[in-house]
């Protein structure tokens, strides 16, 4: 599974896409957030961290899979 990174999350990970090792059992957005916090403690310091599934904001219960486009949405600052 690949995760698109933007803004400060790309700086934290040092890359624009994150591959989740096949062995990790991440079923939902919530599981992904827990895993990210373990891998990248700096992401826990952000004001907020949302996840988009197929370019829609998703809550923690949303299932994630290989056929979805998944992206991390750190605090937005457009305008």
């Amino acid at each position: 599974m690949e995760i698109l990174l933007f803004g400060i999350t790309r700086d934290i990970a040092g890359k624009a896409k994150l591959s989740i090792p096949a062995g990790e059992q991440l079923q939902t957005v919530g599981d992904l957030k827990v895993w990210l916090g373990q891998q990248y403690p700096a992401m826990q310091q952000l004001s907020s961290l949302a996840v988009a599934v197929d370019s829609e904001y998703a809550d923690d219960s949303m299932p994630i899979g290989n056929n979805s486009e998944i992206a991390l949405i750190p605090p937005v600052s457009g305008g």
Partner: protein
């Protein structure tokens, strides 16, 4: 609706799109790069968008505004890339029969855009740079 993410904003585009014989009022908000922020000199900003999602969110906001107020048209244009002080980074425009709706809807749209649309701004000062809003 005119919903765009562009490299360079043309300030004439939204007014030309919004004008019509039915409308009496156009309100336009233009956000520009300030050369200072929190007491520090700003050299430039870099804007980055998750473009397919940002366009979808901008479109949702336009449709919501049209439900909340009697609007003729809505334009939402955001710039990405390297922006210098004085350059426009966002344009919101709405047209309506009367001015109340145009002011209210335009204000609501810029507030919501800043709250929900996946676009990120990095501020470059003389000695460092920061992703705006990233930390509490």
């Amino acid at each position: 609706m005119l919903i765009r993410i562009v490299e360079h904003i043309d300030l004439g585009e939204a007014p030309a799109y919004l004008g019509s014989e039915e409308t009496g009022a156009i309100n336009l908000f233009v956000g520009t790069v300030r050369n200072h922020s929190k007491g520090k000199k700003v050299l430039h900003l870099d804007f980055e968008a998750y473009e397919p999602m940002a366009l979808k969110e901008m479109e949702k906001l336009g449709l919501q505004a049209k439900q909340k107020w009697p609007l003729y048209e809505v334009a939402i244009i955001h710039a990405v890339g390297h922006k210098l002080p004085g350059q426009p980074v966002v344009v919101i425009g709405v047209s309506s029969a009367h001015r109340d709706a145009s002011f209210e809807a335009c204000r609501w749209l810029i507030d919501e855009l800043k709250r929900t649309v996946p676009i990120w701004k990095k501020e470059f000062y003389e000695d460092n740079s920061v992703w705006v809003n990233a930390h509490p």
